[in-house]
Structure formats: structure tokens, C-alpha cells
């Protein structure tokens, strides 16, 4: 197949951004629709890609490679495997949903907003497709700027503090990652008689790593640098403190993308780059990372219970849910890794949906304080039903996608240590506690004076709002009932991951 479909998907939103930039800002509605059209186009193309993807074989498909900076062997090289295609589809899906969900709430500087969002989409897709470490780094940084603007310009009252914190945390990690990437490429160059050819090529680097040519001390340092960058993004305890601020202050769609895709960038980086390139170091540090993951799972859940703000609660629950992902990666079992990836997708869908639902409330009340809510089920029955559905999905109700991911991680890690497994089970109970308690306080009981004062503003969900939630709910059910759809796709990447990590491949 000669059509460069991966590049087409990556740069369709960029063309969209340029098209939006060319439109005069006095037509906000035209701008919104143009942005939506391009994001839908990218989505459709990603679905076509999914249909064209060959399920069986390992390795990367649809690979494109062009020289970019030949002096250092830096190439524009992209390709997909089962893991990246799922992430790309998740990204394109959440992108158009976020753009559509911004139609109502964003009234100011629509043009800049839509450009930021489309550029953000380019960066996110690029991160998942890049097979050249330098290209990966560039996309990684490209993601940063639009998100910085989205939080900082269209965010809440404390947005500047939140966005600076987000940027500085991320930059510290990513700049150290740059040093590690350059050092890795240099080690490859030295190992190949001073030739830079292929020094940034992920596949060649991985072969180089597989032959054990990166020294142990070097691996430890490089792994730690990459791990820091990715752990901040995931975010793992104790690097998570930027997340509640960023989530709380970001506009609804910003939170959706932040939770749905940006956190996944970190987990993806761990699976794709950090472990396969430095397997020895990954094993060295697996113990502490597992401990941090379990702390994140438990701590996130406990802290969620006491959050007074809806978005903050979901943010801390993300810390807990993403803990399952990092746990699943570092126990090095095929089952747990598949569970972790499924959890990534599922968390994107569920938390994305929850943020959209909180956004619906915020649009009407301009408040997110749980204590001020109550009895919403009476005035907004459709909203309350949908919210309840997503709450149950997040709490890990069997039959919905959240359960499958966490369960597989649980099964996979049981063999490593029953203690971890027990801790995760306790947290599933805790999750049910904080989520259902929050739901009860918001939806049931008597209506608060605050809400009564709003009177007629409390209309139920609009058609547009329903359209943004429908695909998410559909996918949550489908993945919950037929997880094998995704798990089949992940078998090959999981085996490749374990082979790269130097673990004997089982079932």
C-alpha cells in the first residue's frame, strides 16, 4: 500500500488548523464546524486504518520512512502496531468529541481555541505513530504548547497557576528525556563505528538493546530519565500534583483530552520505549515502580473520597486508575500488560465521559462543588442516568470496560504477589465508595437552595451533549462485553514487549 495513510491522519488536523487560521474570526460558527469536519475526517481515516490493519503478524505496519536530518540519522519514520493503532483511534475519537463538546462552552476566541485543539491532535497522533526517537520527542513537546494555551486562556479562575505547573512539571521530565535520547543514539553510534545511520531508529535501537549492548549503568541512568518524563505524564505518585490543578482549571474539553489521551502518552512511552530499550534497568527498578503504583492506586482512591470538587475528585480517581496501568506494565506478564492497555483505553473513555458530564452541569450552574448539588436526578433525569452509567463503569462494574482492565491487571499481578492483588481489590471497594457516595450527593436527596435558585436554567442534556457521550458509552459496553476485540489486537504487541523485556513468553 503506497498511500501514506499514517501521515495523512497525522496532518489532516494540521491542514484543519491552517484552514481555521485562514477563516475570519467573525464567523465563529463556521470555524467550529470546520474544526469539527477536519477532526471527523481524521477519525474516519483512523477507522479505515483500523479496518485495513492486519491483526496477526507482529511488527509494525504501514511504515513510512524519509530522511530528515541525515547528519545524525534522524528520520521521519512512523508505523503502527496493535498498541499504537488503538491509541490513535482513541485520540481521534476523543478529539472530535472534545471539539463538538466545546461548541457551546467556548464563546471567546473560538479561532485560537480550535487551532490549539487541532495542533494538539497532530502532536498526540504523532507521538503514537513515531518510530524515530527524535521525532517522538518533537511530537511530545508539540503536545505541550497547545495544552498550555488551552488551560491558560480558556481555563478557570486559577488557570495561570495550573497551566504553569503543568508546563514546568512536564518540561523538567521531557528535557531530561532529551538528554537520555541523545545519549542512547550516541551509544548506538559508538557501537556502529561512528556512523549515525539509524541511531534514532526505534527498531534498530531495540535490536541493539536486545543484543545487550547498552551497559547496565548507562541503562539505569537513561531509563530513569525516560521514566521520570513518562511518570510525570501518567502521572505516578509522587509526580501527580500537577494533575488535580490542571484538571480543575482546564475547560471541559481540555480535561477530556488531558485525562483521555495525555495521560496515556506517559503509559505508552513506558511500554513502547522505556522498557524495551532498557530492559535490564526496567527489571532493576520494577520493584520500586510497583510499590509506587500500588501507593498511587490506594492513595488516589483515599484522597478522592474527601474531594469537595467534582473535577478534582475525578482527577484523583485518575491517579488511582492510572496506577493500575503502571502496575500492569511492570509486573511483566502478558495478561497484566493487556489489562493495562485495556485500562488505558477504558480510562480514556470513562473519564472522558465523566468530565463531559461534569461539564454539562458546570455549563448550567457554573459550579462544581459537590456540597452545593443534590437532587439533580429529579430535574435532569437523562443526565443523571448517563452519569450513573459512567460512575458504575468507573467503579469497575462487571460487564463494562473498566472492570476488564482492572481485573486482568489483578490476575496478572496475583502471580507476582498476592499482597498487591489484595490491595487492588480493597481499592475497587474504595472506588465504589467514593464514586457512589459522590453520585448520591449530587443526584439524589433534596434539591439544594443553590440549585433551586437557578430555577429554569437546569435543563436536561441537549442533543449535542448526548451525541458527545453516546460513542463513549457504546464503546464502554462493547469493550466490557467483548474485550477480546481489543485483546486480540494486543496479543502481538504484548509478546513483543515481553520479549524485549527479556521475559519468557507464556500464554
Amino acid at each position: 500500500m503506497n498511500l501514506p495513510i499514517l501521515s495523512l491522519i497525522t496532518f489532516t488536523p494540521l491542514v484543519g488548523a491552517l484552514a481555521v487560521a485562514a477563516l475570519p474570526s467573525r464567523y465563529p460558527h463556521l470555524i467550529r464546524r470546520t474544526a469539527l469536519a477536519f477532526s471527523l475526517l481524521a477519525w474516519v481515516m483512523s477507522l479505515v486504518l483500523l479496518a485495513a490493519y492486519a491483526f496477526g503478524p507482529t511488527g509494525f505496519q504501514f511504515v513510512e520512512a524519509h530522511n530528515w536530518i541525515p547528519t545524525f540519522g534522524i528520520r521521519y519514520k512512523v508505523g503502527i502496531d496493535g498498541l499504537s493503532i488503538l491509541m490513535v483511534v482513541l485520540t481521534t475519537t476523543l478529539s472530535w468529541i472534545s471539539i463538538l463538546a466545546s461548541f457551546g462552552p467556548i464563546k471567546d476566541r473560538v479561532k485560537g481555541y480550535m487551532i490549539s485543539f487541532l495542533v494538539l491532535e497532530v502532536g498526540m497522533i504523532g507521538v503514537f505513530l513515531a518510530l524515530d526517537l527524535f521525532l517522538f520527542y518533537i511530537y511530545w513537546e508539540i503536545v505541550l504548547v497547545p495544552m498550555y494555551l488551552i488551560i491558560g486562556i480558556w481555563g478557570g479562575s486559577n488557570r495561570i497557576y495550573a497551566t504553569m505547573k503543568f508546563v514546568l512539571y512536564t518540561l523538567v521530565g521531557s528535557l531530561l528525556m532529551l538528554v537520555a535520547i541523545l545519549a542512547t543514539a550516541f551509544a548506538y553510534q559508538v557501537g556502529h563505528g561512528g556512523s549515525w545511520v539509524g541511531a534514532f531508529d526505534f527498531q534498530l535501537l531495540q535490536q541493539f538493546a536486545a543484543s545487550g549492548q547498552f551497559g547496565d549503568a548507562f541503562q539505569n541512568l537513561a531509563f530513569l530519565a525516560l521514566f521520570l518524563a513518562f511518570a510525570i505524564k501518567v502521572p505516578m505518585f509522587p509526580f501527580h500534583t500537577w494533575l488535580p490543578d490542571a484538571h480543575t482549571e482546564a475547560p471541559t474539553a481540555g480535561s477530556v483530552i488531558l485525562a483521555g489521551v495525555l495521560l496515556k502518552l506517559g503509559a505508552y512511552g513506558l511500554i513502547r520505549f522505556a522498557v524495551p530499550l532498557y530492559p535490564h534497568a526496567a527489571h532493576t527498578f520494577a520493584g520500586p515502580i510497583i510499590v509506587l503504583s500500588v501507593i498511587a492506586i490506594v492513595y488516589g482512591a483515599i484522597v478522592s473520597i474527601v474531594q469537595p470538587d467534582l473535577k478534582r475528585l475525578i482527577a484523583y480517581s485518575s491517579v488511582s486508575h492510572m496506577g493500575f496501568v503502571t502496575l500492569g506494565i511492570f509486573v511483566f506478564s502478558a495478561t497484566a500488560l493487556q489489562g493495562a492497555i485495556l485500562q488505558m483505553i477504558s480510562h480514556g473513555l470513562i473519564t472522558g465521559g465523566l468530565f463531559l458530564l461534569v461539564g454539562v452541569i458546570y455549563e448550567r450552574t457554573h459550579d462544581r462543588t459537590i456540597a452545593k448539588m443534590g437532587g439533580l436526578a429529579a430535574t435532569m433525569p437523562v443526565w443523571a442516568t448517563v452519569f450513573g452509567f459512567f460512575i458504575l463503569a468507573s467503579a469497575g462494574l462487571p460487564g463494562l470496560s473498566g472492570f476488564v482492565g482492572e481485573f486482568l491487571v489483578f490476575v496478572g499481578s496475583f502471580g507476582i504477589s498476592p499482597l498487591i492483588a489484595v490491595a487492588t481489590i480493597i481499592v475497587m471497594v474504595l472506588a465504589a465508595t467514593y464514586l457512589l457516595w459522590m453520585f448520591q450527593r449530587v443526584a439524589f436527596g433534596t434539591m439544594s437552595d443553590f440549585l433551586k435558585g437557578l430555577g429554569g436554567h437546569l435543563t436536561d442534556m441537549t442533543g449535542t451533549e448526548a451525541v458527545t457521550l453516546l460513542p463513549l458509552g457504546f464503546l464502554i459496553v462493547v469493550l466490557g462485553l467483548f474485550p477480546s476485540l481489543v485483546l486480540d489486537l494486543l496479543r502481538a504487541p504484548a509478546q513483543a514487549f515481553l520479549a524485549a523485556a527479556g521475559v519468557a513468553v507464556g500464554g
Binding site: 505541550l144 498550555y148 497551566t163
Partner: protein, 486 residues
């Protein structure tokens, strides 16, 4: 001296003639702006052509005192670009303040002539004379707004510390001459190679090295020899600050290349630790102090100190055995020229109306008031931060890569540089916060600069982008220039 010598230094000769022509034009048509600018920019265009004709050639003039090589061509082109951009940005600023544009342009071109001479100097005495030709007009430019007490104060500080450091440098050069018996760079290098081979470095040579390091560090504004910088930069008229932040800085690195790499190359094991410490101090202190600044000009002044630190990492990488450290210095110089002059140009545009301060509050709501100016400033600031795919990112990447290749302590320095770069994001992005995330204040300064100014802004903006998207273009030239006559 013969005609071929003149041919070799033809760009310098033409530059002097252009400066003189500017003064003559002003004498014929006093106070007219356009003829002066046409003469100056047209003249600089001829200089650029003269430089490009020499591209790829190699030779020397005046018995080896002046060398023509790829390094000379690279630096000369950069200096001409700096002069042209400064003139484009200065006209709109000087006119409303009643400052004479012709004198400004002439003095500036004289300064750049000195810088071009530095780039080709392969003799210690010529190097010193060229240096003085480069910096003396700089003192005049710093005090150009002679009725402004801050400008005068900055100029005096700049002049006193500058003269002092020149004297220290000269003193160091004298030691080297005394020990090696020659002032030719290659002769010094050969003599020092013998000295190093015998294993004993005379105390006099160590003294000389210390004096020369101090002198050059002053010119680069490396910590702890940077105290003149913030006052000189803040006090100077903004277009002059734009020039001072790149012209003399690249000039100082040209001295470092000719003197330390060329003449003192054999001693690099001895000056390497000093450069490592200087680099670490310079970038860290520059960044920490920049974070606390509320005045954008002063912030950019401290940030330019930090960038000196990053460039010094390239020099340290060279001393650590990595030739590509020199390419990194040159690439950084070129990238920094475009993004930093661009940032200063936006400040200049806002200050077009006299009385507008360069406080950060002036930038409030700029993204809404003037979307293009705001977007350009954001571009320059992101590039200075080092966000890909912009020029500043590649500059840092090349420096870091060279440091990693050199290995050892240089890797630690690379990590320190990156931590610094992350800290720098705080103060660069703070300006973006003001531009895009705050409402304009009531007394918003109308900007709308003229066509010439906008052309200059477009050049810096496109340069920042093109260097970022196609870094190989500049990197190839920098690589070609990293082996030079020593």
C-alpha cells in the same frame, strides 16, 4: 601588503566604505531617513555579496594576520545580518525620540566591521585591535539616548567594565607573547604544543591564561563577570539592546574560537575545567535571576546570560575532545541571533511611542490587541525556551549532543543545562501568560510598526521557523566552519 590582501579582506573594506557612505549621504541630505536607510541596507547587501563570493575559498592576508576560511564567512554573514536587522528595527524607534538615524547606522556598521575583523583575525594583536573596533562603537550606541539618564548610566558602566576587561585581556595576551615569542595564532599554537609536550606549564603562562579567560568572559557576559550586562541592556535604547545581546556576544565567541580554540588549543585540558565551571555558573545564575524580573528587557538581559552558559557548554564539549562542539556554538549563535533579535524587536515595536515602558504589564493582552505581534513574540519566546520544532530547540539539541559525545563531566553539564532550560520556561512563558491570558490594560500602547520594521520581524520570524524545520541547512554551514585556520 598587495592587492590580493585587499581582495581577501574586501568585505571588511566595503563595510568601512558603507559606514562612510552613510555619513556622506546624511551630510548631503541632512535629517532625511530614507536615503540613509537605503544606503546602509544596500551597502550591507553588497558586503553580503562580497562575503558570499569568498564562500568556500581559503586564504590569508597580511602575512597570516588575517585568515579567510569557512569560519570567517559564516561569522561575517551573521554579523551582516545582525547589522541589517538592527537598522530595520531602529528606525521606527529612533525617529519619534529625535535621535539621529544616520549616526546610529554608521556607528553600528563600524562596530560590525570590527566584529568581521575579529572573525578573521589570526594574530593576537589584530585580534585585540579588531575587538576594540567592535566594542568602542558599542559603548556609543549604549549611550545613544544621551538625554536619558539610564542610557548614560548603562553606557558608563558598560564602558568602564568593558575597557577594564579589554586591558585584562591585553595583559594576558602579553604573557602569551612573552612566552611563545610570536603573536601569530598558528605560531602560538605550535609553541604551546611544545610546551605541553614537555609537560610543564610555566606560572607566567598560567597567569596569562587566567587573564585571557577573565577578559573574554567579561565580553561574553559569563558569570561572575556579567555585572555590566543587565544595566547596559536595560538602559540602552531597545534596538541597541537587541544588537548588544547578539552582536558583541557572537563577537566574543568569535574571539573564543580564534584565541582559545586556535591559539590556546594545545592547552585545552587546562582551560576545560574553567569553562565547565563558568558554563554551569552562567546558565544557572542567569536563569535564577531572570525568573525574578518584571521588566522584559532586563529579563531578556539575564536570559542572554543564561544563553551564554549554554553556548559555553559547546566550547567545553570541544575542549573535551568533541569537534562538533564548535559547530554547536556556531549554530547556537545563528539561531540565537534570529530569535533573540526578534524578541527584542517586539519590545521595540511596543515602545515605538516614547514613554512606554518595557515592564511586563505592557504585554498584557497583546495577543488580542495585535494578534500578529503577539504570535511572533510567542514564537520567539517558545524558541528561546527550546520547544521543537523551532530554531532554539535545535541549538540546544546540538550543544547537548556535543556534550554527551564528549562524555564524563560534560554529561553532567548537559543535564544541568536541561534543568536550566526547564526553569527558563517559567519566565519566558510568563510573558506569554501576560500576552494571552490577561486582559489588556486601559492605556494599551498602539504598535503598528512601519513596513521596514515589519520586514525585519518577518525575517526573524521566518528564520526562527526555517532553522527549526530545516536545521540541516545551517548545520551544514556550521559543520563546514568548525575546522579553521589555527
Amino acid at each position: 601588503m598587495n592587492w590580493s590582501d585587499i581582495g581577501t579582506i574586501s568585505p571588511v573594506v566595503i563595510a568601512v566604505l558603507v559606514a562612510a557612505a552613510v555619513l556622506v549621504v546624511d551630510m548631503v541630505a541632512p535629517g532625511r531617513r530614507d536615503p540613509v536607510i537605503v544606503t546602509a541596507l544596500g551597502g550591507l547587501g553588497i558586503v553580503a555579496v562580497a562575503i558570499l563570493i569568498q564562500a568556500g575559498r581559503s586564504g590569508s592576508a597580511f602575512g597570516g594576520a588575517y585568515s579567510l576560511d569557512n569560519l570567517t564567512v559564516f561569522l561575517d554573514m551573521l554579523f551582516v545580518a545582525i547589522a541589517a536587522l538592527t537598522i530595520m528595527f531602529a528606525a521606527d524607534y529612533l525617529e519619534p525620540r529625535g535621535l539621529p538615524i544616520a549616526e546610529f547606522a554608521a556607528v553600528l556598521i563600524f562596530a560590525v566591521t570590527g566584529a568581521m575583523l575579529v572573525a578573521g583575525s589570526t594574530d593576537l594583536l589584530l585580534l585585540f585591535v579588531a575587538l576594540e573596533l567592535m566594542v568602542l562603537p558599542g559603548y556609543m550606541l549604549a549611550g545613544f539616548a544621551r538625554h536619558d539618564p539610564y542610557s548614560t548610566e548603562g553606557a558608563i558602566k558598560y564602558f568602564l567594565l568593558g575597557s577594564f576587561s579589554s586591558a585584562i585581556l591585553l595583559f594576558g595576551l602579553a604573557y602569551v607573547w612573552g612566552i611563545t615569542g610570536t603573536t601569530r595564532v598558528d605560531g602560538v599554537a605550535a609553541a604551546l604544543a611544545t610546551v605541553v609536550a614537555t609537560g610543564k606549564i610555566a606560572p607566567g603562562l598560567a597567569m596569562g591564561l587566567a587573564f585571557m579567560t577573565t577578559g573574554v568572559a567579561f565580553k561574553m557576559a559569563a558569570v561572575p563577570f556579567h555585572y555590566w550586562t543587565p544595566d547596559a541592556y536595560q538602559g540602552s535604547p531597545t534596538p541597541v539592546t537587541a544588537y548588544l545581546s547578539v552582536g558583541p556576544k557572537v563577537g566574543a565567541f568569535a574571539i573564543a574560537l580564534r584565541l582559545f580554540v586556535g591559539a590556546l588549543g594545545p592547552l585545552k585540558a587546562d582551560w576545560l575545567p574553567v569553562v565547565i565551571v563558568l558554563a554551569a555558573l552562567t546558565m544557572t545564575l542567569g536563569n535564577l535571576v531572570a525568573i525574578t524580573q518584571d521588566n522584559v528587557k532586563r529579563m531578556l538581559a539575564y536570559s542572554s546570560i543564561a544563553h551564554t552558559g549554554y553556548i559555553l557548554v559547546g566550547l567545553a564539549a570541544y575542549a573535551g575532545g568533541e569537534q562538533s562542539g564548535l559547530s554547536a556554538i556556531l549554530f547556537y549563535g545563528a539561531a540565537y541571533t534570529f530569535m533573540n533579535m526578534g524578541a527584542f524587536a517586539v519590545v521595540t515595536a511596543l515602545q515605538r511611542r516614547p514613554g512606554v515602558s518595557s515592564q511586563i504589564a505592557t504585554f498584557a493582552g497583546l495577543g488580542r490587541r495585535d494578534p500578529w505581534l503577539g504570535a511572533l513574540m510567542a514564537l520567539f519566546l517558545l524558541s528561546l525556551t527550546g520547544i521543537p520544532p523551532l530554531a532554539g530547540f535545535w541549538a540546544k539539541a546540538y550543544v547537548i549532543l556535543a556534550a554527551i559525545q564528549a562524555g564524563g563531566w560534560l554529561t553532567v553539564l548537559a543535564v544541568l543545562a536541561m534543568i536550566n532550560a526547564a526553569a527558563a520556561a517559567f519566565y519566558y512563558l510568563r510573558v506569554v501568560v501576560y500576552m494571552y491570558m490577561r486582559e489588556p490594560t486601559g492605556d494599551a500602547a498602539p504598535s503598528s510598526p512601519g513596513a521596514l520594521f515589519r520586514t525585519g520581524l518577518a525575517i526573524t520570524g521566518v528564520g526562527t521557523l526555517i532553522f527549526g524545520l530545516f536545521p540541516a541547512l545551517v548545520a551544514a554551514a556550521a559543520d563546514a566552519a568548525n575546522v579553521f585556520h589555527g
